[in-house]
Symmetry: D2
Subunit: 137 residues, 4 copies
Amino acid sequence: MKILIHEANVRVRYCETDMAGHVNNTSYFIYLEEARGKFFEERIPKPLNSFGRFILASTKCDYVNQAYYGQSLKISTWVSRIGNKSFSFGHSITAEDTGDLIAEADAVIVNFNYEEQKSEPISLELREVLESHLVPN
Amino acid sequence: MKILIHEANVRVRYCETDMAGHVNNTSYFIYLEEARGKFFEERIPKPLNSFGRFILASTKCDYVNQAYYGQSLKISTWVSRIGNKSFSFGHSITAEDTGDLIAEADAVIVNFNYEEQKSEPISLELREVLESHLVPN
Amino acid sequence: MKILIHEANVRVRYCETDMAGHVNNTSYFIYLEEARGKFFEERIPKPLNSFGRFILASTKCDYVNQAYYGQSLKISTWVSRIGNKSFSFGHSITAEDTGDLIAEADAVIVNFNYEEQKSEPISLELREVLESHLVPN
Amino acid sequence: MKILIHEANVRVRYCETDMAGHVNNTSYFIYLEEARGKFFEERIPKPLNSFGRFILASTKCDYVNQAYYGQSLKISTWVSRIGNKSFSFGHSITAEDTGDLIAEADAVIVNFNYEEQKSEPISLELREVLESHLVPN
């Protein structure tokens, strides 16, 4: 089975830079949230992807190289772990022009039942989608 | 009657600067929203100040001088106009260290009945509070 | 002569919404800055478009309708005024899905000589580009 | 020797919330950057604390409880590791009103010689300051 990697693109905005002349550390989390939002929308079918279903429990970013205003960045997203009530994403951010790795990141997502306000086991249907994107660490 | 001016303070954050080395133009609107939020909270008594009561219809900022990371900025806020269903704020932003005028701004606020989802006339009680801060243009 | 209008697109990000459930007022200024940046890059030839050439002196936004997470917004940008050392942009923001007008905005830009740190008259070459996008108010 | 913990306070801004009604995940990194900036300014004497001296190499945040508009948050910051050319911060974010733990975070900082654009060993003077704030993991 071919493993699927999700790709999203952002163009660095001026207000996402800081006085050091590069992209501010907080801006990368904007890009990562955007990439996950597109993953949910584009890869997880509607009934499995309701509002409040996926709660971010933890996120980490390692800054490898600087990025700059106007650069186009590619955020690759895959599933790095599938647990009982949670799973993890792996992300890499690369610059489209230079090919440089800009950052590596991960995110822990809790499978949440918003109506009942508690976490719940990942359904078989959702597990199947996640497994098709699984690249274990 | 003494006219009341509301004052709020912010310290410029690193991520609010941009690669030009100064505070990014979009950050000023963060400061202005923060100043209005404190005005609502500190100057308008609770029953008159319910969630969704004050809708921003328009805002403008004139950039006069640059501001920089770490500077403490004072945002002065007053009422510049009281209409039937809306009123306007005037704002000035000054740097605490240099005393420089950094920006002048205004905002048009609609008096909104959130339950009925429509604008409504400003009540006498609210008008009284607004009038005590009125500095007409 | 056909008047040129510049178009840029953004997709509303989750972090650009606020607890009122819609796009926060400050986020629109991010979109407008992004649209102007693309205008400068795509419409103004390189030698005329150096770093620090265009300084934002003032900006205003009228909020007409609410926008929401995930919506694709089109920002149309044109030149509304050409002065001696400054010019103005007009902007409209519309939702791609509903066609609704979301916001109307403008921005005053000073033509700045960054090396000498002072404003200077708009050159004939730049004026020509601006005139091709001129829709007077 | 008494271990020093640095404390910084932020008040949650409206634009830092999102449509889920709580503080957006990206906003916490704004608070953490602000806390580190104040640590550098308030705890590390000027000659040791030059522009570009401290580079963020990695950061992580675990979200424990939700925070809301208007809440005052206390960010506690200490040193969790001192290496040769880098050190780490530990952070906790708590709500002033409820006392709830909102988030736990850490950050890896590289000691950087900005003039020579390379990392360098932590000086004895800097090490002394860091050790006075050291709470090993």
